[in-house]
Amino acid sequence: GWPRSGGIRGRAAMDLFGDLRRMNKRQLYYQVLNFAMIVSSALMIWKGLIVVTGSESPIVVVLSGSMEPAFHRGDLLFLTNFHDDPIRAGEIVVFKVEGRDIPIVHRVIKVHEKGNGNIKFLTKGDNNEVDDRGLYKEGQNWLEKKDVVGRARGFLPYVGMVTIIMNDYPKFKYALLAVMGAYVLLKRES
Protein backbone atom coordinates (compact mmCIF):
# COMPACT_ATOMS: atom_id res chain seq x y z
CA GLY A 1 0.00 0.00 0.00
CA TRP A 2 1.00 3.63 -0.11
CA PRO A 3 2.99 5.11 2.77
CA ARG A 4 0.56 7.47 4.39
CA SER A 5 2.47 10.74 4.00
CA GLY A 6 3.46 9.82 0.46
CA GLY A 7 -0.18 9.01 -0.25
CA ILE A 8 -1.41 12.43 0.78
CA ARG A 9 1.28 14.10 -1.21
CA GLY A 10 0.64 11.73 -4.06
CA ARG A 11 -3.06 12.54 -4.16
CA ALA A 12 -2.35 16.27 -3.92
CA ALA A 13 0.01 15.95 -6.82
CA MET A 14 -2.63 14.12 -8.84
CA ASP A 15 -5.17 16.83 -8.02
CA LEU A 16 -2.77 19.56 -8.99
CA PHE A 17 -1.95 17.84 -12.25
CA GLY A 18 -5.65 17.40 -12.94
CA ASP A 19 -6.21 21.08 -12.24
CA LEU A 20 -3.41 21.99 -14.57
CA ARG A 21 -4.80 19.91 -17.41
CA ARG A 22 -8.26 21.33 -16.90
CA MET A 23 -6.90 24.87 -16.77
CA ASN A 24 -4.99 24.41 -19.99
CA LYS A 25 -8.11 23.17 -21.73
CA ARG A 26 -10.09 26.13 -20.42
CA GLN A 27 -7.38 28.52 -21.51
CA LEU A 28 -7.36 26.90 -24.90
CA TYR A 29 -11.12 27.34 -25.27
CA TYR A 30 -10.69 30.92 -24.16
CA GLN A 31 -8.07 31.59 -26.79
CA VAL A 32 -10.19 30.01 -29.49
CA LEU A 33 -13.17 32.11 -28.45
CA ASN A 34 -10.99 35.19 -28.49
CA PHE A 35 -9.89 34.36 -31.99
CA ALA A 36 -13.45 33.73 -33.12
CA MET A 37 -14.50 37.07 -31.68
CA ILE A 38 -11.81 38.88 -33.62
CA VAL A 39 -12.85 37.20 -36.85
CA SER A 40 -16.54 37.93 -36.23
CA SER A 41 -15.85 41.57 -35.44
CA ALA A 42 -13.88 41.95 -38.62
CA LEU A 43 -16.68 40.36 -40.61
CA MET A 44 -19.25 42.60 -38.93
CA ILE A 45 -17.26 45.71 -39.73
CA TRP A 46 -17.02 44.63 -43.36
CA LYS A 47 -20.73 43.89 -43.59
CA GLY A 48 -21.46 47.18 -41.90
CA LEU A 49 -19.40 48.99 -44.53
CA ILE A 50 -21.33 47.23 -47.27
CA VAL A 51 -24.60 48.44 -45.77
CA VAL A 52 -23.44 51.99 -45.13
CA THR A 53 -21.92 52.53 -48.56
CA GLY A 54 -24.49 50.59 -50.55
CA SER A 55 -21.70 48.89 -52.45
CA GLU A 56 -21.09 45.14 -52.52
CA SER A 57 -17.37 45.84 -52.38
CA PRO A 58 -16.72 49.15 -50.63
CA ILE A 59 -12.95 48.83 -50.77
CA VAL A 60 -11.15 47.77 -53.94
CA VAL A 61 -7.56 47.50 -55.02
CA VAL A 62 -6.48 49.02 -58.33
CA LEU A 63 -5.15 46.19 -60.46
CA SER A 64 -3.92 47.90 -63.61
CA GLY A 65 -2.23 51.04 -64.78
CA SER A 66 -5.09 52.20 -66.96
CA MET A 67 -5.84 55.18 -64.72
CA GLU A 68 -2.33 56.45 -64.33
CA PRO A 69 -1.00 58.85 -63.27
CA ALA A 70 -3.93 59.23 -60.89
CA PHE A 71 -4.05 55.64 -59.65
CA HIS A 72 -1.40 52.98 -59.77
CA ARG A 73 -1.51 49.25 -59.30
CA GLY A 74 -1.78 48.60 -55.61
CA ASP A 75 -3.68 51.73 -54.66
CA LEU A 76 -6.77 51.36 -52.50
CA LEU A 77 -10.11 52.93 -53.46
CA PHE A 78 -13.10 53.63 -51.23
CA LEU A 79 -16.45 53.37 -52.96
CA THR A 80 -20.04 54.35 -52.39
CA ASN A 81 -22.96 53.21 -54.43
CA PHE A 82 -26.01 55.15 -53.32
CA HIS A 83 -29.04 54.39 -55.38
CA ASP A 84 -30.03 58.04 -55.75
CA ASP A 85 -26.58 59.19 -56.84
CA PRO A 86 -26.85 59.79 -60.55
CA ILE A 87 -24.00 58.74 -62.80
CA ARG A 88 -22.37 61.77 -64.36
CA ALA A 89 -19.56 62.40 -66.81
CA GLY A 90 -16.17 62.72 -65.17
CA GLU A 91 -16.92 60.40 -62.28
CA ILE A 92 -14.66 57.47 -61.57
CA VAL A 93 -16.69 54.28 -61.42
CA VAL A 94 -15.81 50.72 -60.59
CA PHE A 95 -17.77 48.27 -62.69
CA LYS A 96 -17.87 44.62 -63.59
CA VAL A 97 -18.47 43.38 -67.09
CA GLU A 98 -21.30 40.87 -67.18
CA GLY A 99 -19.91 37.42 -66.69
CA ARG A 100 -16.51 38.55 -65.51
CA ASP A 101 -15.34 38.81 -61.94
CA ILE A 102 -12.69 41.47 -62.22
CA PRO A 103 -13.71 44.98 -61.21
CA ILE A 104 -12.49 47.73 -63.54
CA VAL A 105 -11.80 51.28 -62.42
CA HIS A 106 -12.36 53.86 -65.18
CA ARG A 107 -13.90 57.25 -65.83
CA VAL A 108 -17.34 57.97 -67.27
CA ILE A 109 -17.06 59.91 -70.51
CA LYS A 110 -20.58 59.69 -71.94
CA VAL A 111 -23.96 59.63 -70.26
CA HIS A 112 -27.40 59.30 -71.80
CA GLU A 113 -30.24 59.35 -69.31
CA LYS A 114 -33.90 58.99 -70.11
CA GLY A 115 -36.71 60.75 -68.31
CA ASN A 116 -37.59 57.62 -66.38
CA GLY A 117 -34.14 57.40 -64.83
CA ASN A 118 -32.79 54.75 -67.21
CA ILE A 119 -29.09 55.48 -67.69
CA LYS A 120 -26.57 54.16 -70.13
CA PHE A 121 -22.97 55.29 -70.06
CA LEU A 122 -19.55 54.77 -71.58
CA THR A 123 -16.24 54.57 -69.75
CA LYS A 124 -12.58 55.00 -70.57
CA GLY A 125 -9.36 54.66 -68.66
CA ASP A 126 -7.45 57.93 -68.38
CA ASN A 127 -4.33 56.20 -69.57
CA ASN A 128 -5.99 54.37 -72.45
CA GLU A 129 -6.20 55.68 -75.98
CA VAL A 130 -9.67 54.33 -76.67
CA ASP A 131 -12.87 53.89 -74.74
CA ASP A 132 -13.87 50.67 -73.05
CA ARG A 133 -16.20 49.27 -75.71
CA GLY A 134 -13.57 46.64 -76.41
CA LEU A 135 -13.77 45.51 -72.80
CA TYR A 136 -17.53 45.16 -72.65
CA LYS A 137 -19.39 42.01 -73.53
CA GLU A 138 -19.73 41.05 -77.18
CA GLY A 139 -22.32 43.37 -78.69
CA GLN A 140 -22.55 45.51 -75.60
CA ASN A 141 -22.02 49.20 -76.27
CA TRP A 142 -23.01 50.76 -72.98
CA LEU A 143 -22.88 50.12 -69.29
CA GLU A 144 -25.88 50.36 -67.01
CA LYS A 145 -26.42 51.04 -63.35
CA LYS A 146 -26.53 47.36 -62.59
CA ASP A 147 -22.95 46.93 -63.76
CA VAL A 148 -21.66 49.48 -61.27
CA VAL A 149 -19.97 48.27 -58.09
CA GLY A 150 -19.52 51.79 -56.83
CA ARG A 151 -18.14 55.27 -57.36
CA ALA A 152 -14.65 56.13 -56.14
CA ARG A 153 -14.89 58.70 -53.38
CA GLY A 154 -11.51 58.45 -51.70
CA PHE A 155 -8.20 56.76 -52.14
CA LEU A 156 -5.04 55.67 -50.38
CA PRO A 157 -1.87 54.94 -52.31
CA TYR A 158 0.16 51.71 -52.05
CA VAL A 159 -1.87 50.12 -49.23
CA GLY A 160 -3.55 47.59 -51.49
CA MET A 161 -0.21 46.12 -52.55
CA VAL A 162 -0.52 43.60 -49.72
CA THR A 163 -3.56 42.05 -51.38
CA ILE A 164 -1.82 41.86 -54.74
CA ILE A 165 1.23 40.20 -53.21
CA MET A 166 -0.95 37.70 -51.40
CA ASN A 167 -2.69 36.91 -54.64
CA ASP A 168 0.45 36.50 -56.68
CA TYR A 169 2.42 34.63 -54.03
CA PRO A 170 0.03 32.30 -52.16
CA LYS A 171 2.86 31.02 -49.99
CA PHE A 172 3.12 34.49 -48.55
CA LYS A 173 -0.59 34.42 -47.78
CA TYR A 174 -0.36 31.11 -45.90
CA ALA A 175 2.70 32.24 -44.00
CA LEU A 176 0.92 35.41 -42.96
CA LEU A 177 -2.17 33.50 -41.85
CA ALA A 178 -0.05 31.00 -39.91
CA VAL A 179 1.78 33.77 -38.10
CA MET A 180 -1.48 35.57 -37.28
CA GLY A 181 -3.11 32.35 -36.10
CA ALA A 182 -0.16 31.42 -33.92
CA TYR A 183 -0.03 34.86 -32.38
CA VAL A 184 -3.69 34.90 -31.45
CA LEU A 185 -3.77 31.36 -30.09
CA LEU A 186 -0.61 31.59 -28.06
CA LYS A 187 -1.03 35.08 -26.75
CA ARG A 188 -1.40 35.03 -22.99
CA GLU A 189 -3.46 37.64 -21.24
CA SER A 190 -1.57 38.41 -18.03
Binding site: P69, A70, G90, V111, E113, K114, D126, F155
Partner: protein
Protein backbone atom coordinates in the same frame (compact mmCIF):
# COMPACT_ATOMS: atom_id res chain seq x y z
CA UNK B 1 -17.00 78.40 -81.53
CA UNK B 2 -17.93 76.84 -84.79
CA UNK B 3 -20.17 73.90 -85.17
CA UNK B 4 -21.33 71.54 -87.84
CA UNK B 5 -23.51 68.54 -87.55
CA UNK B 6 -22.87 65.57 -89.70
CA UNK B 7 -24.63 62.29 -89.95
CA UNK B 8 -22.25 59.48 -89.26
CA UNK B 9 -22.48 55.78 -88.71
CA UNK B 10 -22.10 55.28 -84.97
CA UNK B 11 -22.64 52.04 -83.14
CA UNK B 12 -25.00 50.38 -85.58
CA UNK B 13 -27.39 53.27 -86.23
CA UNK B 14 -26.84 56.60 -87.81
CA UNK B 15 -26.45 59.07 -85.00
CA UNK B 16 -25.73 62.72 -85.04
CA UNK B 17 -22.10 63.66 -84.81
CA UNK B 18 -21.24 67.15 -83.75
CA UNK B 19 -18.11 69.12 -84.31
CA UNK B 20 -17.16 71.89 -82.00
CA UNK B 21 -14.09 74.02 -81.78
CA UNK B 22 -13.49 75.97 -78.66
CA UNK B 23 -11.18 78.20 -76.72
CA UNK B 24 -10.40 77.62 -73.10
CA UNK B 25 -9.03 80.28 -70.88
CA UNK B 26 -8.71 79.18 -67.31
CA UNK B 27 -6.62 80.28 -64.47
CA UNK B 28 -6.33 77.58 -61.88
CA UNK B 29 -4.82 79.11 -58.81
CA UNK B 30 -6.94 80.14 -55.92
CA UNK B 31 -10.62 80.59 -55.39
CA UNK B 32 -13.27 80.03 -58.01
CA UNK B 33 -12.82 79.26 -61.67
CA UNK B 34 -14.17 80.19 -65.00
CA UNK B 35 -14.42 78.90 -68.51
CA UNK B 36 -14.46 81.63 -71.07
CA UNK B 37 -14.39 81.79 -74.75
CA UNK B 38 -13.26 85.37 -74.77
CA UNK B 39 -12.72 87.83 -72.03
CA UNK B 40 -12.53 87.85 -68.26
CA UNK B 41 -10.70 85.23 -66.32
CA UNK B 42 -11.59 84.34 -62.79
CA UNK B 43 -9.17 82.66 -60.46
CA UNK B 44 -9.55 79.12 -59.38
CA UNK B 45 -8.72 76.22 -57.21
CA UNK B 46 -5.66 75.67 -55.20
CA UNK B 47 -2.86 73.25 -55.86
CA UNK B 48 -2.01 72.44 -52.29
CA UNK B 49 0.37 69.90 -50.79
CA UNK B 50 -2.21 67.15 -51.00
CA UNK B 51 -3.13 67.66 -54.63
CA UNK B 52 -1.29 65.26 -56.91
CA UNK B 53 -3.01 66.29 -60.12
CA UNK B 54 -6.18 67.65 -61.63
CA UNK B 55 -8.05 65.78 -64.30
CA UNK B 56 -9.72 68.50 -66.36
CA UNK B 57 -12.49 67.79 -68.78
CA UNK B 58 -14.77 69.76 -71.01
CA UNK B 59 -18.23 68.26 -71.14
CA UNK B 60 -21.23 69.09 -73.26
CA UNK B 61 -24.58 68.73 -71.58
CA UNK B 62 -27.89 68.86 -73.36
CA UNK B 63 -31.26 67.19 -73.60
CA UNK B 64 -32.94 65.61 -76.56
CA UNK B 65 -36.21 63.99 -77.51
CA UNK B 66 -34.65 60.60 -76.87
CA UNK B 67 -32.92 61.32 -73.62
CA UNK B 68 -33.72 63.78 -70.87
CA UNK B 69 -30.05 64.27 -70.05
CA UNK B 70 -26.95 63.74 -72.12
CA UNK B 71 -23.37 64.40 -71.16
CA UNK B 72 -20.47 63.92 -73.50
CA UNK B 73 -16.85 64.58 -72.60
CA UNK B 74 -15.28 66.37 -75.53
CA UNK B 75 -11.81 66.99 -74.27
CA UNK B 76 -9.69 66.24 -71.27
CA UNK B 77 -6.29 67.04 -69.88
CA UNK B 78 -4.22 65.99 -66.95
CA UNK B 79 -2.65 68.86 -65.07
CA UNK B 80 0.06 67.70 -62.72
CA UNK B 81 1.19 69.65 -59.71
CA UNK B 82 3.87 71.90 -61.04
CA UNK B 83 2.35 72.31 -64.50
CA UNK B 84 1.43 75.76 -65.67
CA UNK B 85 -1.88 76.50 -63.96
CA UNK B 86 -2.97 78.92 -66.64
CA UNK B 87 -4.69 77.49 -69.65
CA UNK B 88 -5.02 79.52 -72.75
CA UNK B 89 -6.05 77.16 -75.48
CA UNK B 90 -7.43 78.45 -78.71
CA UNK B 91 -9.18 76.73 -81.54
CA UNK B 92 -9.15 73.36 -79.91
CA UNK B 93 -10.88 70.49 -81.57
CA UNK B 94 -12.67 67.97 -79.48
CA UNK B 95 -10.56 64.97 -78.56
CA UNK B 96 -13.44 62.56 -78.67
CA UNK B 97 -16.24 62.07 -81.14
CA UNK B 98 -19.31 63.99 -80.13
CA UNK B 99 -21.89 61.36 -80.93
CA UNK B 100 -25.43 61.73 -79.79
CA UNK B 101 -27.52 58.73 -78.91
CA UNK B 102 -29.88 59.34 -81.77
CA UNK B 103 -30.48 62.48 -83.76
CA UNK B 104 -30.80 65.05 -81.06
CA UNK B 105 -28.05 67.44 -82.11
CA UNK B 106 -29.71 68.76 -85.20
CA UNK B 107 -31.41 72.01 -84.39
CA UNK B 108 -30.60 71.70 -80.74
CA UNK B 109 -30.35 75.21 -79.48
CA UNK B 110 -28.98 74.60 -76.06
CA UNK B 111 -25.81 72.63 -75.60
CA UNK B 112 -23.94 73.74 -72.52
CA UNK B 113 -20.21 73.36 -72.38
CA UNK B 114 -18.67 73.29 -68.92
CA UNK B 115 -15.14 72.83 -67.69
CA UNK B 116 -14.85 70.58 -64.66
CA UNK B 117 -12.09 68.76 -62.92
CA UNK B 118 -11.42 65.85 -60.65
CA UNK B 119 -9.01 66.65 -57.85
CA UNK B 120 -6.73 63.67 -57.27
CA UNK B 121 -5.08 63.96 -53.86
CA UNK B 122 -1.97 62.20 -52.65
CA UNK B 123 -4.34 60.48 -50.27
CA UNK B 124 -7.92 61.20 -49.32
CA UNK B 125 -11.17 62.29 -50.88
CA UNK B 126 -11.66 62.58 -54.65
CA UNK B 127 -13.87 65.58 -55.30
CA UNK B 128 -15.35 66.62 -58.62
CA UNK B 129 -15.49 70.34 -59.07
CA UNK B 130 -17.37 72.19 -61.78
CA UNK B 131 -16.13 75.47 -63.09
CA UNK B 132 -18.33 78.48 -62.62
CA UNK B 133 -18.31 79.62 -66.22
CA UNK B 134 -20.14 77.88 -68.98
CA UNK B 135 -20.98 78.49 -72.59
CA UNK B 136 -24.10 77.68 -74.48
CA UNK B 137 -23.77 76.39 -78.00
CA UNK B 138 -26.55 75.99 -80.54
CA UNK B 139 -26.34 73.50 -83.36
CA UNK B 140 -27.66 74.33 -86.82
CA UNK B 141 -30.77 72.82 -88.31
CA UNK B 142 -29.08 71.15 -91.20
CA UNK B 143 -26.44 68.56 -91.71
CA UNK B 144 -23.17 69.25 -93.40
CA UNK B 145 -22.28 66.77 -96.04
CA UNK B 146 -18.83 68.02 -96.76
CA UNK B 147 -15.87 67.31 -94.53
CA UNK B 148 -15.38 70.91 -93.60
CA UNK B 149 -13.91 70.04 -90.24
Amino acid sequence: LRKNVEDFTGPRERSDLGFVTFDITADILNGKNGLQTSRNKNTLIIFDWNVKQLFLYLSAEYSTKNNALNQVVLWDKIMLRGDNPRLSLKDMKSKYFFFDDGNGLKGNRNITLTLSWNVVPNAGILPLVTGSGHVSVPFPDTYETTKSY
